[in-house]
Symmetry: D2
Subunit: 339 residues, 4 copies
């Protein structure tokens, strides 16, 4: 951490500040006195020092972190890729392109089982489907809840596809026992109390980037989960909020190679939420593979125009079949592991 | 709701869709057939119709809401200003400028009681202070938690100032019995499960706008609380995330008159979080009063450079005294109720 | 154009407004009177009606365009892809992936000719290089200007590669006679006076999207050029400004398939400016091909660490050779025309 | 400038780089060698060093400016406020709140003279009006051009109000001889060729902030004009582009006190363009005064619903009269100079 002092910094105050710092944190201080300003360099583990605390000192001109504030999620300390392996054998992060597909909301047994069978036939390896749904309006359909989880279980029994579904509340955790990968939605990316609880369990967590979260904030939220002991986190880029209104969100495709470089965690992309438009799913899915994504999360609905939520961005099983085939071709071209 | 059909819309499908709509919702349909396109107008209570469901129909070109999707928060249906009155008499929304002040985090008895006495002397009518703190890093100070709430209680006993403090988790609700106004932080504005629970209790809720939430989304989150039965919601503008990096966030000053026009709920402004810079607190506080805010929420710390969080944006009690005096002058000039 | 009137709209005023509209524009009005509000539908060519003029009427609740405001750039009226063919045979928009490469700034004869030869050997078909440079600071290197154009001409003579370079001022146009494709930079995308002049000449224009321009605004700027008679416009996505600070800009990859759908004009992507980071050039270039881009514009410098501008985002000729090879592999996989 | 080197930085390369720096710029280098990384501190005038050039060195981890890159616009070097005084006596920046008002576009002699007389009676001290209009669509009204300037001259003759109007092209400069303050619009804030020419003339320039320009970029554009010799620049905040769609732009009210602190140049606010909504003009104007603005620029039209442009954001002369009165009351309350 580099701290630039103001020209007229009070020496006694600075010394007192440095004493406090070195007594609380395992850091050493190097001072460089220039002709116009003085620069302090903190050496050691500065990741737990609050940068705002430093900025608040009245003798500080500015502060700059050299070290990233995340450790367990940091590739520097864990150079090898994290590979998430489910008990049933499916992997994310092993060089293949994982295909997670399914409807926005679970609506009925016929719907979820029908879709599960169709996407499995097309090559999907995970089934997604919402049981608890975060909706902007309290008057919108909020999901089938526990019944939705039950239907997902049945679809899993029929197809063998592991389940990915979203949790919205700590007290629901007991209902998620048979869920294979627990999803944290974009709106809850900084629901730190939820993250802490998920850090205590033994299941992979798919963590979606918040609508206006930076890449570093996403990694810090992963760090929350990992700090609790659960290191199986999958990062998900799903579009960020910008001024452009043509798409619902703007897919930040650069986040994929950046996250892969900064962190060892696997990265998947959700082209459906990123765009909100079904005809954009294919080009964005292919772009994600080209950029190095470890997987795709795609909304598929047997009858998008009757979907109880997110119909405008869902593709049909037939369309998914085409997308999956093109994804395989692309994966091969980019030297990815393809079965 | 205005629905523009595609030029080649299939009539049978459209009719089927309209039958579904009119059987589920209390709406009537008016059709206007143009030479190139057909427009449908839905009349009645369309607020619970999911606009995405309509957009997902393959014969729909575009959809436009005429009616706002919020009802209980809507000034159209509640023309009079909502005034929040506490049992101890303090009011928000009655034409006065409420002054809510205090430290980011409660740190000790001396700190919180000392600040409470100072701000009370300067004219503050509410004490804010964080006991549970949402922090980006799991390694940062997370607040004194239950002990912090206890210290707030003591400060209230000493000064009579009602308490405003943030909740982060449904299961903490029982600890908040003596809290006067429960705050929902920006990161939890769309934590719908928390909002639903807060809709069931009988305490005013101060709801902060999310970092990238639209004005309409803020009102929809207020609607979540109100739909549950708790109509005492205070809206809080605290800066939004933009590309500008000089300030931590960008205060959306326009949101104040817009929220006052769209809704009957009181609106307060937090210039401390909006800017993240202590010397901006005064001009932004005055701008908020000029724009019509019902109150201000300001971080005050006896010793900002030793604050355990948010020091850079906190002002001292002496500075608060000056800000409060200028706020009173401004409030008078703008014809606001001043004691 | 759909116009929703306020419930209490004054009939005489509305009639007067409609008389004005129909006498100035070739449109017909259809009125649909609902029980609560009245909707007007304008039929005909509404593209030249100023939507703000309509919104300014005090009896208007809201307005919605059904028709896009651009005509010449609109694929609806020109279903076939525009292919730009240079006199020397190179094409953009014919199904191939055009490779435009070269340094940010032309610095010397050795530099530009050396780079030109290296990129040509790697498969580039166009040479880019800045002679007039838009710089944020008046104290930064502003380009070699006329001398830079002269050096580009020499590089073209040596290699046969057509030249793409940026214009910043109408009065410079005469210097650009030997330039093959004139580039309009992001900061000048809405320099309408420049666009109008470029509409009068007979050279392809590469139009970069402004840092905060919407997709529709980009198309409207293309329309400015095309309205003047020059229909050979190449659109360029080069990253937009968002809150994310890791990258200089955020590549809006969705803009590629959207522009291809809305317009018949070719679309190229500049991964160098989009990210500002050299190690992101390859993954973003491949993502652009996957998303359907007609070409790539890549900064290549023989010695990035001594580049007079934009060194941090430039790749070396060796790195470009690798990127070009991977782009060819990707192009083949996606069924693109590859020589 | 603080430069953090990578842990494994090549010493010979670093030394060569430093030799180059110190031979080109008047700076000295201080080196601080830590146990894990080395930090370089450049002392002297680093404002003309291109930060990207430094970042492009492969041995550089990161760079941080300590010194601002603008000099002539910097309050540090010019502590006193710049006051712009016109030959006719009107001042901007002297502690008063300058009122600049008038229609978006000049439309006819009756219109401009009528409005000029009305706003003068209400206390306006400058007349604004567009003769050359930047419009998103080539098919929209582009202004009366030279004739518009002629009409402005007549309005000035009738009322004595100095004229503020926008220039869009260098070659139009000769037409602007009788214009008192030349405006550079938001879309041309980084039209550096135009800025350079305006630096050579002897007239105050009102420089509007670009839609997505940072505060520092605005100051750098002012620096372009000032570097040419024309130091009479007025900065104008007119709203920035964010994700919020309720308003056309988001007024960045914080920019006012920030610009006043960083620079000695006067700062005016345009609440009309910032919001795009006439009923927001008053609260935003008052907020701007509260935040310390040196002036307001407000669109006034005798008949907004027939305005050829920007009608939705224009207020009537009657409404302006009210706003002006409230601005005076606010100015007094905030201790501003009021006649």
């Amino acid at each position: 951490m580099i701290i630039v002092l103001k020209p007229n910094a009070n020496k006694a105050k600075v010394d007192h500040f440095l004493d406090t710092l070195t007594s609380h944190y395992d850091v050493k201080v190097n001072t460089w006195v220039g002709t116009q300003s003085t620069v302090l360099g903190l050496i050691g583990d500065t990741s737990s020092i609050d940068i705002e605390y430093v900025q608040a000192q009245d003798f500080v001109e500015s502060v700059k972190r050299v070290q990233e504030p995340y450790k367990k999620a940091n590739r520097k300390f864990h150079p090898d890729d994290t590979v998430i392996t489910l008990p049933t054998g499916q992997k994310i992060g092993d060089g293949s392109v994982a295909l997670i597909a399914g409807p926005c909301s679970v609506e009925s047994k016929e719907q979820i089982c029908g879709i599960a069978q169709r996407i499995k036939a097309s090559g999907a390896t995970f089934l997604r489907g919402g049981a608890f749904k975060p909706r902007t309006s309290p008057y919108s359909f909020q999901g089938l809840k526990a019944e939705g989880l039950e239907l997902l279980r049945e679809a899993k029994k029929e197809t063998g596809l592991p389940i990915v579904t979203e949790i919205m509340r700590v007290s629901h955790l007991e209902l998620f026992e048979d869920v294979d990968i627990i999803q944290v939605g974009a709106r809850n990316m900084q629901n730190f109390e939820l993250l802490k609880e998920l850090g205590k369990i033994d299941k992979p967590i798919l963590l979606k980037r918040g609508l206006s979260s930076t890449i570093e904030e996403l990694l810090m939220s992963a760090e929350y989960i990992m700090a609790g002991g659960n290191e199986r986190v999958i990062l998900c880029e799903r579009g960020i909020r910008t001024y452009e209104t043509f798409t619902r969100n703007t897919l930040d495709i650069s986040a994929v190679p950046i996250l892969k470089r900064l962190s060892h965690l696997p990265v998947v992309v959700d082209p459906s939420h990123a765009s909100g438009i079904s005809w954009l799913v294919e080009p964005l899915a292919l772009a994600a593979v080209a950029a190095g994504a470890d997987g795709l999360m795609i909304e598929v609905h047997n009858d998008p125009s009757h979907a109880l939520s997110d119909g405008a961005q869902s593709i049909t099983p037939d369309q998914f079949d085409e997308v999956a085939a093109k994804v395989r071709t692309a994966a091969k071209a980019f030297g990815r592991k393809v079965e």
